[in-house]
Symmetry: C2
Subunit: 141 residues, 2 copies
DNA sequence: TATAAACCCGACTAAAATAGTCAAGTATCT
DNA sequence: AGATACTTGACTATTTTAGTCGGGTTTATA
């Protein structure tokens, strides 16, 4: 299971983007300043987000990024997936099925990890970017 | 968020222990062989489990470990806690509340991580060791 | 057309975490 | 007495993380 800064930054940056997503693209420089994330690191992250078509880039002066879909349609799963944050608790597929299939207690816990994985993925599957910014503006201001 | 081999090993080892928990204590050597976990590493893990009173040790020849409570009463939370696997998605408490409390979008995602944390902890809070071995024996054999 | 803003992309790296190993014990059963 | 098994601390190789660095290319605008 991984869930590290990269994933968090990606979500933070996209939430920021969703908020300031007007006519004009949002530059990474602005996001970097607002969210306190290194510009260079943001570039790495957005490179991946672009490849997965979550954002679109606008090159040149006054350029930046825009969301490629509606905030409602961007689920957290998509984001984590894009930046390679795999919610993977155990890689049982590698260990050939012979050594696993019901053999003693070794695999006793595998169902658990599967279950957990589904549980977490469900959570991420249901949450969209829109939920994030909506939740937040409801609670404050 | 961390959820690594140490946590998995701890759960596997305890599930093994719960299964073979008869009158006699179970030696780490046996668990090591059955689960394919290095004996030295198991010792480290059980040192922690003992300190948190999840297991009891029986020293000397024919010694080993026994569960210190009923399998039903040992929740996964307790296990992860004992081996320092913290389900912590973000440490927002450090960043003083001034810098966080509703200031722009920086904290926009904090509710999310809180929610996720609760979600996962809930899952672990509900699952006991007994659930594990019961689930498993139901499905096979 | 010059220039600055902004994206593009690969390579490198310090620090931390992980998953152990190693060594030298101590306790207890037979 | 001897074997088995727990106890404990220190050490370490490997991997991952969270970046940095450096050199591009593209495009708006003055």
């Amino acid at each position: 299971m991984k869930l590290t800064s990269k994933g968090r930054y990606a979500v933070m940056a996209l939430a920021d983007l969703a908020r300031f997503n007007n006519i004009n693209p949002v530059s990474l420089r602005d996001i970097s300043l607002r969210q306190g994330i290194s510009l260079d690191y943001l570039e790495q992250i957005f490179f991946k987000l672009r490849k997965k078509e979550i954002v679109q880039s606008v090159r040149g002066n006054q350029g930046g990024y825009v969301l490629n879909k509606k905030a409602k349609e961007i689920k957290l799963t998509n984001i984590f997936d894009a930046v390679d944050e795999k919610v993977k608790t155990v890689q049982c597929k590698k260990e050939s099925k012979k050594s696993c299939n019901g053999k003693s207690t070794k695999c006793l816990t595998h169902n658990l990890w599967d279950e957990l994985e589904n549980h977490i993925n469900d959570f991420f599957e249901k949450k969209s970017l829109e939920d994030l910014i909506k939740d937040n503006s409801e609670r404050r201001i």
